[in-house]
């Protein structure tokens, strides 16, 4: 092609990919406009954030309503979607590289692609339309025999224009190497013809034209060889384009740059005019390079490509293909799913210029959909969503799939939407631009629920009677997303007996007001106000080992609470607020009991145990400030938790309430998860062994009612003992160490724990530790294994020296 022997060349290599992907998914090519109708849904949720996620998916969606089945299906859907996604992305974004990529100086290879849907007649449309036609024909299995003698070579233009030929085989013949290349050759992917396909002469000619203009070949020819069965064997013989060797490589970002319009070259130009023309073209290209922004490609890849250039000597089309693949691979590996190499320019100079469109976001669109998928005006205010989006997803950043996933997770955590899609699509108005669409389906704002249950309580004589049937249940309502600002009110009432709800009525009413500092303020503070009640068995009134039965004391709390939570990170936060509550202590039969009971040696019960309340009446009213600061920088390394967690909790009495309670009750918990071995991170890699060190100090200065005393013993205090079995004290110290050793998919652990009252048991009024014959301190050690959420552990109680087996849910630390 001597006409293109200009000093610099352009080459559009994107063709290959689109074709190859079409080959892999022939069914989709039946659609005449794959650009807009192709869509993939990658199901994902916050749990799918593992680094193993394939970064190739251009469209993410979450259905957070039914998380449990989703969790199971994630790996599968990810895998399948990943394959589909890579396909969809390439098809969708391929037109970016179109639009006169063949500019002035080049081969005009990718030229005339047009912007996908709009500018017709382009190269791309031809490409897409041809298989569409084929597909149509495939529905009609008939094909015409060539009607010629077997084993003769027919030139393409000698074929009949009215016949539909069946190609039984397609051969590629490299004229330079003088060999037939196999299907594994990269050039093979450039041809859309497939063996067994049925094509007309026009189609074959178009294909040839395509190949000739793509810039990869200096010369391409097609010839058919007749076969006895009436089919054709097609041989495509080609000469690969080569340019002079280069020793420099430059990658430029041409995203959002207006593509240069090719100026028609007048065939009647004189040599001088031609020279002028080329020179102006060259100048234009220089200017283009200068104006282009630097691209993100790191030096390491640069060097790699330089090495490739150096090794190769001459720059060949194959080499350019390789370079393109390498560059695109880096982008795609890093999550820049919309990045494309659109052109190679400046060929035949010492420098290869690789033009990349990275996928700049030109617009961010937030869309609400109703259940049927129609676009509607949403209730949620957009700043609520905008603040959840990573900066990298906003206008003028490069689209990255990881940022998309992050956005998906963040929006999902709002719990306002039943379906979330983050969807990049090419911007038709800006060449190489990406519009990020966020499509959201809102959940119902108001929700009410009634659940009932009947419980049959044994009546007199142990037999259930009709009167002993108790209707119970829960009534709950929720008003979410008030004013579109994610404020919510929720309430619930639970009772086990609707006839006598005063017996055990649990209620909760909560108002949540996020974005206290304004929805556009990056400070993230949430106000919560709630009305609550609860009933718990007090571990203070528990017997030590060998003490048969201590009459239990129930602690009922009811009150109001208002607090402000400031979230610093996902895990670290600071909460402070005011609590006003009424605490009532009751015995087994729900009678208010101001003193704990104890069993006398004679077997009788005397109600002169430790006082249960501050006021001595069994009912305390108190108001205090509550603050909690959590610093948590733990993270998961291959599934093992590593990092540090510190929690400080403070209840500061204000002297308001029964007997003017003034106290400072504080707890400091420090837990360190120390990674004992450096491991490679990645899916399926074994987690490192971890040493967990834990310390918990609790103390109180001032008025300390028994229900606020710190208790020792229990699964979250000192394992191997019952709740409160070791004592109840004013100050406590708990120390624990646990060594976790990974075994297959889970881990085994050994632990040792100690809890001590620091001699402060007697500083609790009535000394419940001593009254109920408890030690006040104790140690335990043991070992266990984790099976999913369940821990099975054998713990030895060091006070008595006996061991026992426990099954527990959740984590100790």
């Amino acid at each position: 092609m001597p006409t293109f022997a200009a000093s610099s060349h352009l080459l559009n290599p994107t063709l290959t990919h689109s074709l190859s992907s079409r080959r892999r998914f022939p069914s989709s090519s039946q659609n005449p406009k794959p650009l807009t109708s192709l869509k993939c849904h990658l199901s994902s949720s916050s749990s799918s954030s593992s680094p193993s996620d394939p970064p190739t998916s251009d469209c993410l969606s979450v259905k957070p309503l039914n998380p449990s089945p989703l969790l199971d299906s994630i790996p599968k859907s990810l895998a399948s979607a990943a394959a589909a996604a890579s396909f969809a992305i390439l098809l969708r974004f391929s037109p970016i590289g179109g639009g006169g990529g063949g500019g002035g100086n080049g081969f005009g290879g990718g030229g005339g692609g047009g912007g996908g849907d709009g500018s017709g007649g382009g190269f791309w449309e031809r490409l897409f339309s041809s298989p569409a036609a084929i597909a149509d024909e495939q529905q009609n299995p008939e094909w015409d025999s060539h009607g010629l003698p077997a084993n003769i070579v027919v030139q393409l233009n000698k074929l009949s224009g009215f016949k539909k030929y069946k190609l039984s085989e397609i051969l590629f013949f490299d004229r330079r190497r003088w060999t037939t290349v196999g299907t594994e050759d990269s050039f093979f992917e450039m041809v859309s013809l497939r063996p067994g396909g049925i094509y007309t002469k026009a189609q074959l000619q178009k294909e040839l034209e395509t190949l000739a203009t793509c810039g990869m070949f200096e010369k391409v020819d097609m010839e058919g060889k007749t076969k006895p069965d009436g089919t054709l064997s097609l041989t495509i013989s080609f000469t690969e384009s080569t340019w002079q060797s280069a020793d420099k490589f430059r990658c430029i970002n041409v995203g959002l740059m207006p593509q240069t319009k090719p100026i028609e070259m007048d065939p009647d130009m004189t040599d001088k005019e031609k020279l002028e023309y080329y020179r102006s073209q060259e100048k234009d290209y220089r200017r283009r390079i200068d104006r282009a922004r630097p691209c993100m490609l790191p030096m390491s890849v640069h060097r790699e490509i330089l090495q490739m250039l150096r090794d190769q000597g001459k720059v060949s089309a194959r080499l350019l293909q390789k370079i393109r693949d390498r560059v695109q691979k880096w982008y795609h590996d890093e999550g820049y799913a919309c990045a494309q190499v659109v052109n190679f320019g400046n060929l035949n100079t010492k420098e290869v210029v690789c033009e990349v469109v990275e996928g700049d976001i030109t617009q961010l669109v937030i869309q609400f959909q109703d259940k049927l998928g129609n676009v509607v005006e949403g209730n949620t205010q957009t700043p609520v969503i905008r603040r959840e989006l990573p900066k990298q997803l906003r206008q003028s950043h490069v689209f990255n799939i990881e940022a998309g996933k992050q956005a998906l997770r963040n929006i999902n955590s709002l719990a306002l939407f039943s379906n979330i899609e983050v969807n990049p699509r090419p911007d038709e108005k800006n060449e190489g631009g990406i519009i990020v669409e966020i499509k959201l389906k809102e959940l119902e704002q108001k929700q009410a629920e009634v659940s009932t249950e009947w419980s049959i309580v044994p009546g007199r004589g142990g037999r259930p009677t009709l009167a002993s049937l108790q209707p119970g249940g829960t009534v709950s309502f929720e008003h979410r997303n008030i004013k579109g600002l994610n404020r919510s009110i929720l309430g619930s009432v639970t009772t086990s007996n609707f006839f006598n709800p005063q017996d055990d009525l649990a209620f909760k009413l909560e108002y949540v007001h996020p974005y206290l500092d304004g929805v556009t303020n990056p400070r993230n503070r949430t106000l919560r106000a709630s009305c609550f009640n609860s009933r718990k068995l007090s571990p203070v009134f528990t017997g030590g080992p060998g003490v048969d039965e201590v009459p239990p004391i129930w602690v009922d709390r009811a009150g109001l609470k208002a607090n402000i939570t400031e979230n610093f990170t996902r895990q670290s936060k600071f909460t402070y607020g005011l609590v006003m509550e009424e605490v009532t202590t009751r015995d087994e039969s729900s009678h208010i009991s101001p003193y704990g009971q104890r069993v006398l040696p004679s077997g009788g019960i005397s109600a002169d145990g430790p006082p249960t309340t501050l006021s001595g009446t069994g009912i305390d009213r108190l108001a205090f400030l509550q603050a909690n600061i959590t610093r948590d920088n733990t993270k998961y390394v291959n599934g093992a938790i590593v990092g540090q967690r510190n929690v400080f909790q403070l209840d500061q009495g204000l002297g308001i309430g029964s007997n003017f309670p003034f106290f400072n009750r504080h707890q400091l918990t420090c837990t360190g998860f120390i990674q004992l071995k450096q491991v490679e991170e990645g899916a399926g890699k074994p987690p490192p062994p971890v040493l967990v060190l834990h310390g918990h100090y609790g103390g109180c200065v001032g008025d300390l009612p028994s229900y606020d005393a710190f208790t020792l013993g229990g699964p979250y205090s000192v394992r191997g003992y019952n709740m409160g079995e070791l004592g109840a004290a004013r100050n406590i110290l708990e120390l624990a160490a646990e060594l976790r050793i990974p075994v297959k998919n889970t881990h085994m652990y050994v632990f040792a724990e100690h809890g001590n009252d620091l001699g402060s048991s007697k500083l609790v009024k009535g000394n419940p530790t001593e009254v109920y014959r408890r030690m006040g301190h104790g140690s335990s050690y043991g070992l266990g294994a984790k099976f999913g959420l369940v821990r099975a552990e054998y713990a030895v109680d060091h006070n008595s020296g006996t061991g026992s087996l426990f099954l527990r849910f959740g984590e100790r630390f």
Binding site: G335, P601, N664, V701
Partner: protein, 312 residues
């Protein structure tokens, strides 16, 4: 029981005339010092003759005594008055049960004693036990914990069953000194009386023999093997202790329950709060800020290449 009528001390008439004279003389001495009431608390292990001692002092069978079992499940106060002088003797059940100090009993005693003033503590043990053991120490400890160390300033160690033949032909005096020394040592260590507190060495020891077979002297007074009449001697020692200048122990709620732990350090709460704010909450906040700064961000976040102020 506290409201029990104070009866006339008729038992004093039962004593031999010589004893009576001595007793009245001692009581007169007390009255001179403006002491018109004397409350004596009797404590000790079980079955060592506490009640018998009480009966001996009063001179009548005021408290039921049984040879084989503890008769009184709860403390009993016996009050007698004569010539304007009131003597209260509080008998208590034995503190030891099943090898341990019975907290229940101690608790009962304490409750019984609320709002009473104890002038004298009689810590009773037997003379004819050869050894002291940990149990003795525990009893002393329990008494100290209940009423404070100061009670030992007004205490007498009383050794019952004083009429005995010392083993291995020891001299009676030597045996008595050995036994009382051993016991006092236990008392001093159990009550955590420091070496430099000289009063610890001055706890007097009195001997008692309640048995009816007790030897008598010419005045039909009960006498010890050494020849002293023990009742006048005991009362004399009591009088001496009562007048030794130390304060009687007033048992009130505070003493029993110890200082109110809720009041301890209460005035420092604002300081504690300030400390927590500046030295726990603030550093934690700083640590969180640090964490946020050091958080490992994914490459795409760092590589952020915003086209600053680019318009479309």
């Amino acid at each position: 029981m506290a409201s029990q009528l104070i009866r006339e001390w008729t038992g004093i008439q039962q004593f031999p005339a010589a004893t009576q004279t001595k007793l009245l003389e001692l009581l007169g001495k007390l009255k001179q010092e403006n002491v018109s009431t004397l409350t004596i608390l009797v404590m000790g292990k079980g079955g060592i003759g506490k009640s018998s001692t009480v009966n001996s002092i009063i001179g009548e069978r005021a408290v039921a005594v049984s040879a084989f079992q503890s008769e009184i499940p709860r403390p009993v106060m016996v009050s007698r008055s004569t010539a304007g002088f009131t003597l209260n003797v509080i008998d208590t059940p034995g503190l030891i049960e099943g090898g341990y100090v019975n907290d229940q009993t101690l608790e009962n005693i304490k409750r019984f004693l609320v709002n009473k003033t104890i002038d004298i503590l009689l810590y009773v043990d037997r003379l004819d036990t050869y050894r002291v053991d940990n149990l003795d120490k525990q009893v002393v400890k329990a008494v100290t914990e209940s009423f404070g160390k100061e009670i030992w300033k007004r205490a007498l160690v009383v050794l019952t069953h004083a009429q005995l033949l010392p083993p291995d032909g020891l001299e009676y005096d030597v045996f008595f000194t050995g036994r009382s020394e051993a016991l006092l040592k236990v008392v001093r260590s159990g009550a955590k009386i420091k070496k430099q507190d000289t009063w610890g060495d001055a706890i007097p020891v009195a001997l008692v023999e309640n048995s009816g077979r007790c030897n008598k002297n010419e005045n039909i007074e009960k006498v010890l093997p050494c020849g002293t009449a023990w009742i006048p001697n005991l009362v004399k020692t009591i009088t001496e202790v009562a007048l030794n200048g130390s304060k009687p122990i007033l048992v009130n709620k505070k003493l029993i329950e110890g200082p109110n732990p809720d009041r301890r350090w209460k005035e420092f709460i604002p300081l504690v709060f300030a400390f927590q704010y500046f030295f726990i909450i603030k550093p934690l906040q700083r640590a969180i800020k640090n964490d946020m700064a050091r958080e490992t961000r994914p490459a795409w976040e760092l590589r952020d290449t915003g086209l600053s102020s680019r318009k479309f």
